[in-house]
């Protein structure tokens, strides 16, 4: 892999990780409060929070690594930009898929456990 391709890949990976940590920073505190309230088990909260973070990181890596940079140094700059955009698109799709799956999971968890705790 040439230096140009490597730079493109590193930028894509960095952007994917920034996306992941932005989502994590936005959601983690309120998600922790919600899980504490629903589960009433500290280990349960830790398990679901960690699995969420691991899932987000894996989604970012899967998206970034799925994109192959195979350009010549003479290729125009915008080719690299479009490739980074395509990789970021894939990472966004995977993060969105994970968020949807997780949202459904947590909604069921909260609804079922709240009903059980109220009984």
């Amino acid at each position: 892999m040439s230096a140009h391709n490597l730079t493109g890949f590193v930028i894509l990976l960095a952007l994917s990780l920034i996306l992941t940590f932005t989502i994590w920073a936005l959601v983690s505190k309120s998600l922790q409060g919600l899980l504490n309230q629903a589960l009433k088990l500290p280990d349960g909260t830790t398990f679901y929070l960690r699995s969420f973070l691991i899932g987000l990181l894996l989604a970012a890596f899967a998206g970034a690594l799925g994109t192959t940079f195979n350009f010549k140094p003479s290729d125009p700059f915008m080719e690299y930009v479009w490739k980074v955009a395509a990789g970021l698109h894939e990472a966004c799709e995977l993060c969105l898929g994970l968020l949807l799956g997780y949202l459904v999971l947590v909604t069921i968890l909260v609804a079922v456990l709240r009903a059980k705790h109220e009984q």
Partner: protein, 134 residues
């Protein structure tokens, strides 16, 4: 390093890396899961979940690695090793598949734990502490 040497080294390196990534995910989630299943009245279920958990993360990581094939459209071995960029691309595809399969496995384990939690809360008084449900 020739392309053939690169193929051999990178194949086994990425295969080993898939196990390392699976183990890392397991190491992160092992303790909270153990604490969680300790609260289950049914000890057998807790034991089954605890013992299946490492396999449930390692096997998807390995399956992701193995899901990528070097051969496409009946390419010969010589054609495969002729292009270094193709080999690097395949390594990236393997790593991407490992991450994707592992992400799905982690999400699936979340569902398994959810179902276990719900089933254990349903009949809290019926299963004796330390006794299996019959």
């Amino acid at each position: 390093m020739s392309n053939e040497q690169y193929l051999i080294v990178s194949y086994f390196f990425v295969g080993g890396l898939s196990i390392v990534i699976g183990m890392a995910a397991y190491a992160c989630l092992r303790r909270p899961l153990a604490g969680l299943v300790r609260a289950f009245p049914n000890r057998n279920l807790a034991s089954v979940i605890r013992k299946l958990f490492p396999a449930g993360l390692l096997l998807p990581a390995l399956a992701g690695f193995l899901s990528v094939s070097y051969r496409s459209c009946d390419e010969s071995y010589e054609a495969i090793i002729a292009d270094r960029a193709y080999l690097v691309g395949k390594n990236q595809a393997q790593l991407s598949a490992i991450c994707l399969f592992l992400m799905l496995a982690v999400l699936s384990w979340g569902i398994v734990v959810l179902l276990s939690l719900v089933s254990q809360l349903r009949r809290p008084g019926r299963a004796g502490d330390g006794e299996p449900n019959r």
